[in-house]
């Protein structure tokens, strides 16, 4: 048996090898395409980390990944695979926008006259918490369906969350298209939410953050969630029971813990975490539900959790790593002749493959 410190060092060591190996493979591909790999990586890293503005942008991209990474990691601690973060965050984003319109006193201009689209006109201090709660409840509900199906019928949560992704995204698209799009808008998006539902941008509070960076309050919520998930999993009875089921369901049951109940709880919390992506997206950045907004962050959550070893601190670091790729790829695309921004996606995929293949060696 290795000591805890040695074990952690070994994991970090293996992950570094995996990351380096994937950059090596990516470099070879870049070389074959006819570009200088060192130049490409320099463009990638310097534009993701080179200045305060770049770093703030990278943290902005990291925010949704922290939520989805925590979501996947928490489910995994209970022995479950939540492939459904993508669907959960779409459902949550629409629900959040719906609340932001319906309870925010929103008037929409339709054919030249103002139409009232809301039921109530709540003040900010009620509307924002209500929106955040909605994001969590909607995501949690979508996750809970898969948890319930697993607990009650033993149906694979992997398959069900994949199916629920498609269903959730299609339904959000449907209500947007038929009921909440401003008539005549060519883009599939809802009307804007009430100004009162907007959460603050961080540059309003921290003068060192440049004005045009969309980094908003949701980043601080994400950091807070890392801490809360850690406390929940390792410092509370509920978290302990959840992890017991993940490590050995039959032993947990023998010890008086109901695995079925834990499975539903874990999938609900997991879904709620994924749903919190909506806070940054709808309340902090785009201020409406925009169909197709996610850009795979739900799926990248799997990668983040894997690279972060299903630990909140690891998730935070891994999110920043993937955000560097997301930020840097834009510049690689602009400043090279033959390399498109898809280099980021390719590198992400190779990293996951390497880390997944190395898991075998970290267990020993």
């Amino acid at each position: 048996m290795l000591k805890l410190g040695e074990k952690v060092l070994r994991e970090i060591y293996l992950i570094l090898i995996a990351v380096l190996a994937s950059f090596l493979v990516g470099g070879i591909v870049v070389f074959l395409v006819g570009e200088d790999p060192f130049n490409v990586y320099w463009i990638l890293l310097s534009n993701a980390l080179g200045s305060t503005k770049d770093i703030c942008y990278t943290l902005f991209y990291a925010t949704p990944l922290i939520f989805t990474g925590l979501s996947v990691a928490l489910a995994f601690r209970c022995g479950l695979f939540n492939i459904g973060a993508e669907g959960q965050l779409y459902v949550a984003a629409f629900a959040t926008a719906w609340v932001g319109i319906t309870f925010g006193g929103v008037f929409v201009e339709v054919a030249g006259r103002k139409e009232n689209w809301s039921w109530l006109d709540l003040p900010s201090f009620l509307l924002i918490p209500l929106c955040i709660l909605t994001a969590m409840v909607a995501g949690g509900f979508w996750g809970a369906i898969a948890g319930f199906l697993r607990a009650r019928f033993g149906a694979s949560e992997v398959i069900n969350t994949i199916m629920l992704n498609f269903i959730g995204i299609a339904l959000a698209g449907y209500v947007t298209q038929y009921h909440y799009r401003i008539p005549g808008d060519p883009i599939l998006q809802t009307a804007p939410i009430s100004q009162k539902a907007h959460i603050p941008q961080l540059n309003e509070y921290f003068s060192f953050i440049p004005k045009d960076v969309p980094l908003n309050f949701s980043f601080l919520i994400a950091i807070l969630m890392c801490a809360l998930v850690y406390i929940f999993l390792w410092r509370t009875k509920w978290g302990y029971e959840l992890r017991c089921v993940g490590e050995n369901p039959s032993a947990a049951e023998y010890g008086g813990i109901s695995p079925k109940k834990q499975i539903v709880i874990a999938m609900t919390i997991s879904g709620a975490l994924a749903g919190m992506v909506a806070i940054g997206e709808v309340l902090g950045d785009r201020h409406r539900y925009f169909h197709d907004f996610s850009g795979e962050v739900g799926f990248l959550g799997i990668a983040v959790a894997l690279l972060g070893r299903n630990h909140p601190l690891g998730v935070l670091l891994a999110s920043i790593f993937f955000a560097i790729l997301i930020r840097g790829e834009i510049f690689v695309d602009a400043f090279t002749r033959y390399i498109s921004k898809d280099i980021g996606l390719v590198l992400q995929a190779i990293v996951i493959l390497f880390v997944a293949c190395m898991e075998k060696y970290s267990k020993r």
Partner: protein, 301 residues
């Protein structure tokens, strides 16, 4: 109603079912041997891209189709190495392959054609040949594969071993079956078949490759596989049914309206396969149970 349920709808269903049949049969081989295959989507994309590029460059659909199969086999080898040799988690690896194939074709197309939107248009005469009602030669191949797969699975020693390995690898091993080798073979076949489905999309149904052009068909194929309870002949009917729902969603637009005068939202028809899969998995319409050893790496004692 008559305007909707026509022969055109039938042939449209057959065309749309074709890629699903290839991919679902691919999934069948892999999953019956005990290896989860969520990478079907990525394998299809690899096939679609390779077929489009090779057909455009060499003006031969035959060559394009053949290289797509090779690309599929290659992706199958990579996937098999990860999950069998290195015992990587099958769900994670599958998703990584899907992610890779969302990026890599764009990356290569950007490097070759200086355009990441799509590959160049292939002239119609170089696409896969079609017969009456635009039924492609690939559709005929897909339908022919059903009885062939049935025969392979239930009437050959290879099929018997494959099923045994997926249910109880220890027993199969004790009986002298090389579990690892068999799983490699199954996953590679899986890649080849899925890639054939992808090739049909780019050089049969369409005439170029576009980003993520499979649009979730790999997952619908997976759904069909579950609905068919991992058996070859029901796979045909499940795929035809899903092809039919897709065809219907195109057909009814603007023709059938709700009593309120609105169009029937396409989204409601699009989600049918997914809803059905959840219902079937929960056991409401007969129980669908996966092969027993599905997803468990085999380590020789």
């Amino acid at each position: 109603m008559q305007e909707v349920f026509t022969f055109a709808l039938l042939f449209s269903s057959i065309r749309l079912a074709t890629p699903l049949i290839f991919a679902a049969l691919g999934g069948l081989f892999s999953e019956r041997s005990g290896v989860i295959n969520i990478a079907l989507e990525g394998m299809m994309l690899a096939g679609a891209f390779t077929a489009a590029v090779v057909t455009f460059e060499y003006q031969s659909a035959f060559l394009g189709f053949l290289s797509a199969l090779m690309a599929g086999a290659f992706v199958g080898v990579v996937y098999a190495l990860c999950v069998i040799r290195f015992e990587a988690n099958q769900v994670v690896t599958g998703f990584a392959i899907n992610l890779l194939m969302l990026g890599l074709p764009q990356f290569l197309s950007g490097a070759i054609y200086d355009s990441t939107g799509s590959t160049p248009q292939i002239p119609k005469e170089h696409l896969l040949p079609q017969f009456f009602n635009n039924v492609s030669i690939a559709s005929i191949l897909a339908f022919a594969l059903i009885p062939i797969c049935w025969y392979v699975f239930y009437k050959t020693p290879f099929g018997l071993r494959l099923r045994a390995v997926g249910e109880n690898p220890e027993a199969a091993d004790a009986a002298g079956v090389d579990v690892t080798r068999l799983r490699y073979t199954a996953v590679i076949i899986s890649g080849i078949l899925a890639a054939a489905g992808g090739a049909y999309l780019s050089i049969g149904q369409s005439s170029l490759f576009t980003r993520g052009m499979t649009a979730g068909r790999g997952f619908i194929a997976l759904a069909a596989l579950i609905l068919a309870k991992w058996r070859p002949v029901p796979v045909l009917f499940a795929c035809l049914f899903f092809g039919f729902t897709e065809a219907l969603s195109f057909q009814i637009q603007g023709i059938i309206k709700l009593p309120s005068g609105e169009d029937i939202p396409v989204q409601f028809i699009q989600i049918i396969p997914y809803v059905l899969t959840i219902i079937v998995l929960a056991g409401f319409i007969g129980l669908s149970r996966p092969p027993k050893a599905l997803g468990i790496p085999y380590r020789k004692e």
